[in-house]
Every structure is written in structure tokens, then in C-alpha cells.
Symmetry: C2
Amino acid sequence: MISIIAIDLRNPKPIYEQIKDNIKQLIITGALKPDEKLPSVRELAQTTSINPNTIQKAYRDLESDGFIYTVSGRGNFVAPSPKNVDSKRLEELYDILRAAVGELSYLGAAQSNIIEIVQNTISRSRPQGGNKT
Amino acid sequence: MISIIAIDLRNPKPIYEQIKDNIKQLIITGALKPDEKLPSVRELAQTTSINPNTIQKAYRDLESDGFIYTVSGRGNFVAPSPKNVDSKRLEELYDILRAAVGELSYLGAAQSNIIEIVQNTISRSRPQGGNKT
DNA sequence: GTAAGTGTACTATTATTACTAGTACACCTA
DNA sequence: TAGGTGTACTAGTAATAATAGTACACTTAC
């Protein structure tokens, strides 16, 4: 069960985005296993003191992004494997990657540092599908 | 002079953010040289059909981030070199990097692809400072 | 000195969105 | 049947992006 949802109300990033990022991270790193049950909307709303509607919005987004699946009346569960990956999302991520790396490099971050972080992150993730471009 | 400011009004990202990202990109890649003059607030507002206040906000942010400097009565210019780099910004960028790489890997992007893009981006940027962590 | 172009600082208004609040209903399981 | 689950809906509030318009100080060119 999740207990590591950290929400910073002072963060300008919307709460539902923070929840999405948190859960995505847990799934990507494998902290949440496939088919594992997520906290219910109401439960997570209580433990975080966030309105249930906000939690629901995060869950809805996560489902449409393929990270979780929903069974009405039972709950939300971690999706076993990313399928039907949206190519637009991949392009978005590559764009984000380029922008972050470019600015880091421009600001003086060492290439070796950047590469190391990238490799560590990859090795810690839970790759599943084939080799998309 | 800039003529490559692409603004997508259907993009949910705020217009001033799009302008910031555009100009950052031009500076990072070296398309805009140090001390080169940027279009005036009013000029860019005309060519893009965006309200001058929105342009001004983008310029103000870029200046406080150290990408450009302003001379009252003369205009805005590309900052020669990033100094006094905000360590919080570096941490932000590393976090963004980790999140993007993690999700890419999870979605099935090949490690070789990711690394290649990172290296290409670094080699195309305009590094200046020392080696910040 | 004057005029034109520059950044900057205001106030006011509108539109959008995140968030909260509350309710209702259908579904599943013990 | 009872309790927990997801879902849908309406309504209202708060924050922010964006527009609109004005004003002023500064710099440069004439």
C-alpha cells in the first residue's frame, strides 16, 4: 500500500499533477508491482487531506495514460505492462529530455554527470515493452 | 534578429512560457550570440500578435534566470555567460531529467536511443561555465 | 532640443482552470 | 443486506494567464 505520497501545497504545480508524478514514479521504479492495488479514491483523499475529486482526476489521467487500470466497484490497480504507447507522448518526453539536457549543459553541468544520471535512471526503471523510437 | 518564435495558441502551456522556452533554446544552441540584441517588447508583440505585457513577462523571467540582460532605454540582450547559477534550478533540471528518462525507459524506449539524444544535445549546446554539479 | 524607440510600472477586466463541496448512483464483495 | 468501491454531476471559490490601456523615465538619432 502506498504511504509515500508527498504533496507540497506551496508547490505551484497542481496537486493532481503531483499525485500523478508520485504514482508514476512508484510504478516506473517497480515500488508498485503490476496488478497491485492502489489506495481507493476516498482512502487516499483521507490520508492526504485532499479532496476526493482531485484524487479521482489524477487516477483518471493515469488510467488514460495506461499506467493503471480500473475495475468498477473493486478499485484501481497497477497496469501490468505499457501497451499501445502513444507516440505523441514519446515525442513529448524526448522534447523534455532535450530541453533539460540542453539547459543543464549550458549552465555548466558536466557531461559525465548528466550521462551518469541517465544511465542510473534507466537501470533503475522497469522496462517492459519492445524498442520504441 | 529573431523570426523563429513559434507560438501555438492551442497549446495549454502559457504563452509567456512558450516564448521563454523558444528564446532559451535559441540561446542554448547558440543561434543567438552573446550580447546580441533581442527584439523589443513592442516589436515582438506586433510580429506575434501577442499582448506586450505577455512579452514583457517572458523577458522579465528570462532576465531573472540569467539568460538575458536589460538596458533601460536600449533593449534586451543575450547574456554573455551563465554566472551565479541557481543550484535550485539545477536540482529542478536533474529531477526533470530523471522523470523523463525513467518514463521513456518504462515505455520501452531503447537505452541507446536515449543516450544518443543526450549526447547529441550536449554537443549542440553552448557550454560556458565550469563544472557545476 | 525634439522625436522616436526603448524598458517599466501601473490599474482594470476577462477567461480559464485548479480545487473544493456535496450529492447521487451503479457496481462488487463479504 | 451493508459497506466499500468507482463514477458522474452541479455549484461555487480562488488563482492565474492574458488582454487592454495608460503613463513615465531613459537612450539614441536627427
